[in-house]
Symmetry: C3
Subunit: 303 residues, 3 copies
């Protein structure tokens, strides 16, 4: 999330009542979850396992739960609960941004929003797009031109992102959105979660069949085809021209290369190279999988 | 289902025009499907295979399709179609209960029901809960405090419970409900069926991602996490702190122990012990499954 | 799709500005995608791989992208883009048909359409049927008698049928519908696509659990039972009395024989004979699959 203005380190430390360390003159221009962090961003870390990658990331200001050496050219804000502090800041900045905007959705005159569809605040809908009955577009989502969204599809529900505590789960409050690029068609009963702090993106000309699920912060390339009941977890990158057949699942934080084809019901557990065909759960090269299936079959018939 | 008052054996036999046998002075305080039966309940059985367990259950009054010896301290009602008689009784009792209640939903002033959400009769919604657009809450469901239900999720649709006849399926008419306990979050596009005669329960602090399906009379414990597109059949018991990754399926009438973790796309066909990690369809110990996958891979590459 | 009147070859050639070859006196009575073609129909072909089956089909008039020998008793219309010409014709005929009809849905007085349900134009709903809140019925769909459609289910969204071009996907515009026969019950959150030019059909007395997906032009027989999250692709034929357990997937263009039973999470990749039980992805005879599972297990434990 881009901030609406630059914030000084002192301002941020005061907002969360934390202790600032390091480059005092640094200013923040954005805030993002670590997977999406850009230069100038505020990020957070609350587990020693992730100290090193977070401190070495391009983040400029890091909210951290323990005093530690601050890398050169960055600043730390020490806070007992970085997760909560981060939630507080994203909510704060979001409100400030919203105060400068009109909440009315901007729907092009040539677009068609059918009865029973729900369009949230700050939503944009482009030319000639059609939103079918019962579709729900949450606040801040952006729908391009020539997009079709079929009935009862949900665009922009919250990221499934929780931190386990003793007796409850704390939620990372989503402040991102979904961007549907031009020429996309999305079937009925799909669910596409918004980014935690950034955008979940469906690339130009991609087509999703019914009951497809796309997790938060996932970026789908251009001209992809996803058959029905495909489920893609959060923080996944799918390159252009990828084909996923029905009921394929894809684990979080991985990348699928350009032009990859994944056969039905496969489970993509690791990143896949482009230009190849995959099958199985976990998904491997499709021809190898076919040979494995033949191996088992032959062995069984011999017994 | 608890009855609104005690019923004598004679009253019940008359309601369904059946023949009463056994303990004439017995009174009924509830009516339940055999999986959920309590002392004082009316139950039914219409297949010789299930005579013994039903007659030996804690049910007080059993509607049965054949004259048989009545166990001590119980009563039987002989009826040519126990399934139909049971449907008749649950409908009758439900109407009597509803006549004593106001149908208006009771929604706490701090709860937020968004436009396009549908709230059925006799529904209760607790403090600070949010029902997003397009969500549908069927009659009699109970939503606790601090619950979030995302867009187009359905709470309380009918149990998928049919009896096959010659040329049709007779439906066990659902009279139960869904109870969503405090602090639960349910994603978009989920479907949670109500109990046939009891309650489907989502335990305190549990979080469900998008497009999760929960069958009738299933009880989910506290602090569980279910990723997207998980499907749990009816009459399942999931204990506390269970984690199910994406697209996991779980067969009917089984139990998953506390703290079990089930990897993505697994199919849980039998009850699982708690505290362990599972993978595969059918799901087995995850490390063993990984070894099986290696076995096949090694054998195939050798050939 | 039946045309509202017979069309001469010249009329059709003029509508799409194509060149007519062959039986000049032939008249067209319908238009259909090649999978569904009947005598008297207009069809199209735009890939040499499919020339032969299309030319040998019962189609009377074939729109083709290359001049070729016209089979006896048929006619060809040569057009540089048969796909686009076909779309133009179906849209043209559909408009002509609609001009002769009243768009108002015909809903029987004993049917119940609940608040928040959306009923499209030209829809028919039979006696005693119930459409729950949030269900969406697209234009031209036909719902029989004693049908129950649960909340947020979508009947009649577009076929997932695209032709890949250099930088975009062209869509085969759906002009078919969905026909739900008498006594069908469909759970919540289901999606049933309409036929491309014909009807997707759910046969009498069949019952679908929640989150079931049925593709375009698929025909489901009578008295079938599909558990939750089953996904059936397009152009599939499922005969009577078939049982599919939860999360089963079924590939396009295949047939499943009468009375077949498919266990949970199976993937049906080829046509299946009736009267047998199947398991696995890809699905094979269930007992054989169980033996395969035992083979792997035994081999792994030995190592």
């Amino acid at each position: 999330m881009k901030l609406h203005r630059d914030y000084t380190l002192t301002e941020i430390a005061q907002l969360v009542s934390g202790e600032a360390i390091g480059e005092a003159g640094i200013s923040s221009t954005g805030i993002n979850e670590i997977h999406l962090v850009n230069e100038g961003d505020i990020a957070f870390v609350d587990h020693p396992k992730y100290y090193k990658p977070t401190l070495n990331s391009v983040a400029s200001v890091i909210i951290i739960d323990q005093k530690t050496d601050c890398p050169h050219g960055k600043a730390l804000i020490v806070h007992p609960e970085p997760f909560n502090a981060f939630n507080f800041l994203t909510q704060h900045f979001k409100k400030e941004i919203e105060q400068q905007l009109s909440p009315d959705p901007v729907i092009h005159g040539s677009a068609k929003v059918m009865p029973g569809a729900y369009i949230g605040n700050y939503v944009k809908i482009g030319e000639r797009s059609i939103i079918h009955p019962g579709a729900v577009i949450y606040d801040h989502c952006v729908i391009g031109d020539d997009v079709t969204i079929h009935a009862n599809t949900v665009i922009g529900s919250d990221a499934f992102y929780f931190k386990r505590r003793e007796n409850k789960h704390d939620k990372l409050i989503s402040v991102g959105n979904v961007v549907i690029e031009n020429g996309v068609e999305i079937g009925s009963g799909c669910t596409i979660d918004r980014g935690s702090t950034g955008s979940t993106i469906i690339g130009e000309g991609s087509k999703l069949d019914n009951q497809v699920h796309i997790g938060h912060d996932t970026v789908i390339g251009k001209m992809c085809l996803f058959a029905a009941q495909v489920g893609i977890a959060g923080c996944v990158t799918i390159k252009d021209n990828v084909v996923m057949w029905g009921q394929v699942g894809c684990a979080a934080n991985i990348e699928v290369g350009e032009g990859a084809v994944v056969y039905a019901q496969s489970g993509v557990a690791k990143s896949l190279n482009g230009g190849q065909t995959y099958f199985g759960s976990p998904a491997i090269d499709a021809r190898l999988k076919m040979r494995e299936i033949a191996t088992i079959s032959n062995l069984t018939r011999k017994l």
